[in-house]
Amino acid sequence: MFSLSQRFQHISNQALSFAIFAAVFVVATTWAQLYRDNVFELSSSIGKVDPNINVRTSRYYGSVNGKPKENIRLTFDLDADLTPLFNWNTKQIFAYVTATYNGKLKKDVKSEVTFWDTIITDKAKAHITLDNVKSKYTIWDLEEKLSERELTFHLNWNIQPWIGSLVYGETTGQTLVTIPERKVAPKKSKSPATESEAN
């Protein structure tokens, strides 16, 4: 009647149901806390966006068959308090600054690109204040040029939980920046990637 395998089956069944119950409880309380803390309406401000245009001819900078491609880097200020995103089921926060813009030659193309991101694992460091920080990535578009376009910057976040569902959100601040025209520098035969100017 009471065999070893039966006992084992019984215990593993109980362990499984308890684990499922615990996981559901954790996920439910996490979502309740997120809504209570109103995390989907956190504010942020991005300022002093200062673009810097380069022309690259490498495949790893978006160039196709060696055709020149405009690459944009920038410096910017950022202030955002993401502390409310930390609760008992937050393993890390991935915060990222993106820009959205429309195509110029192809009007139907809409794009969103990441200029900067960071991983926060400590609640004490969740208040981001950046002053004149360089963007992490250099950005190119599908089109040859990215200059003379309007970019809308905002800060997004993603909560990576210890267990359960990944949570995404956007902060309320928005910054509109028009990338100026690239000043054409005198041609140089070598090192096409060193030309840059800011304004």
Partner: protein, 168 residues
């Protein structure tokens, strides 16, 4: 030996296997992904995902957002890669979306991993699914079994033993 009993036992085993298979395929249909549950194999998304973590995928979305963690397959290589979307370009006319991805723990983007001369992934063709849910570490069993031959033999032995012992 009771032949009828043995046959019933065999039928039960078949039933268990078939229902597991049905569950997996049913999940595939619901999520529209050929592998709706994956185990992380590399550390390129650390500290978000470690080796052995289990991810649940969803692939009914027609578009991905920047910041989504997606699983993609490059044709020619059958290893699925779990990385984060950094850029998306959506053509409003054709509805096609191009994605550029990067692992959180990698310094550079994924262009070197893509198929030859490709600078982007195509959402409708390359993406296996978007990560929606997460369970830590439990998938390590599968890594352990597939990479350790003793573990594989041990597991087979255990199953055989339990089949032999389960007459009550």
């Amino acid at each position: 030996m009771n032949l009828r009993l043995e046959l019933t036992r065999f039928l039960n085993l078949c039933f268990a296997l078939a229902s597991a298979f049905m569950f997996w395929k049913g999940l595939s249909i619901v999520t529209n992904s050929h592998s709706p549950i994956v185990v992380v194999l590399s550390g390129s998304m650390e500290p978000a995902f470690q080796r052995g973590d289990i991810l649940f995928l969803w692939n009914r979305n027609t578009l991905n957002k920047v910041g989504d963690v997606v699983v993609y397959e490059v044709n020619g290589k059958d290893i699925p890669i779990v990385h984060r979307v950094m850029r998306e370009h959506i053509d409003g006319k054709t509805g096609k979306q191009l994605l550029l991805t990067k692992g959180d723990n990698n310094a550079g983007n994924d262009i070197p991993l893509y198929a030859k001369r490709k600078l982007y992934l195509q959402k409708d063709r390359d993406i296996v699914g978007t990560v929606k849910g997460y369970i830590p570490q439990l998938g390590y069993v599968t890594i352990w079994i597939s990479e350790n031959k003793y573990a594989k033999a041990g597991l087979m032995g255990l199953i055989a033993l339990s089949a032999l012992l389960s007459n009550e």
